[in-house]
């Protein structure tokens, strides 16, 4: 599935088995996006949360 980067407009390839909540990274500008929805091979993205001080295991 293809979608354009919200930051630099580069085309991103999203794997067909991607699910809502997964993170995709733009190979060009490095921005992270969270998948908001996947339907009929169409993907909607939003800017992903930044890594927090409390993130981890």
């Amino acid at each position: 599935m293809k979608v354009n980067c919200k930051e630099c407009d580069k085309e991103l390839n999203v794997p067909d088995d991607a699910v809502k909540g997964e993170i995709v990274t733009c190979p060009d500008c490095g921005s992270d996006f969270e998948i908001v929805s996947v339907s009929n091979k169409k993907v909607e993205l939003k800017t992903a949360e930044k890594v927090g001080e409390d993130w981890g295991e």
Partner: protein
């Protein structure tokens, strides 16, 4: 068969694997975005749709901790419980619980002011290891090799806005091989154990820092210590980390509450996700 709910804030390999494995094992699985949740003390309706058991998998410690508190308020069973998450998410509390239960751990010292922190380190003798009490992936874990570095670290931490940065967790520097051991425990069973080797130019062994995994045999000693450590913090699905101290032998230095297992899965002969789902299904009954 159980209705299993996985609460996430970003779906990583682990959450996808848990969801797929649950379905393969005949359960129903639902992924719920923790960021989209709202919960009220006056309305129990949020508990509808959470199924028989919840696997708390938020990568943000505090988000996971407080969502778990709310779900428990709504009488949901959550793995891990709020109490376990609170203990494991705080290195000071973890050390206290491990030590109280006579689990071998590195000697650890706490100080609550800048002068006492410097005094403790001087009395111990350098090097010492300075760790934040909340944090993961080896972030801000510093080997302090002399007084100058200690003073700089203290000055820096006193300037940080987070009040937890002024609680000093100082641990003896453990002489060990360039690896540690990560075990994954589900209930009273050690599912798998791996060695984690530091990446080149890195002293920490975290897979998140490029550490490499290798299968580690589960000896009786390793199993006993891990089960004891797991019980000491309240039990559940946990990542127990150990070092091979040249003086003390195996010592537990950390117990992880939202254990990542992608690295372990790449070398383990066990199906870690399936073992976690089996444990969750057992707890749901």
């Amino acid at each position: 068969m159980s209705d299993i709910c996985i609460v996430y804030d970003r779906v990583r390999w682990e959450e996808k694997e848990l969801s797929e494995k649950a379905i393969k094992l005949g359960h129903t699985a639902k992924l719920i975005d923790g960021k989209a949740l709202t919960i009220s003390t006056h309305d129990g309706s949020v508990s509808n749709g959470f199924g028989d058991i919840v696997l708390q998998r938020c990568v943000s410690h505090y988000r996971g901790l407080y969502i778990t508190a709310c779900l428990e308020f709504l009488n949901m069973k959550v793995i891990n419980s709020h109490s376990v998450a609170e203990i494991c998410g705080n290195k000071l509390l973890t050390s206290l619980h491990l030590s109280k239960a006579n689990v071998p751990t590195p000697k650890t010292h706490f100080a609550f002011g800048p002068e006492t922190a410097a005094d403790v380190a001087s009395k111990l003798g350098y090097p010492v290891v300075l760790k934040p009490i909340v944090g993961s992936w080896g972030r801000m874990v510093i080997p302090v090799r002399d007084r100058d570095v200690m003073d700089s670290m203290i000055e820096m931490r006193e300037e940080m806005p987070n009040p937890l940065s002024k609680i000093y967790y100082i641990q003896d520097y453990v002489e060990r091989p360039p690896r540690d051991i990560r075990t994954i425990v589900a209930g009273d069973r050690v599912v798998t154990a791996i060695y984690r080797y530091s990446a080149e130019g890195e002293w920490r062994t975290n897979i998140a820092r490029g550490g490499k995994a290798e299968l580690c045999p589960i000896t009786n000693e390793l199993e006993d210590i891990c089960i004891k450590a797991s019980k000491a913090v309240g039990g559940g699905v946990l990542g127990v980390d150990l070092m091979e101290d040249e003086k003390q032998g195996l010592v537990v230095h950390e117990v992880n509450n939202t254990v990542e297992f992608k690295g372990a899965s790449s070398v383990s002969t066990k199906d870690i996700a399936a073992e976690i789902i089996n444990y969750a299904a057992k707890m749901a009954r």
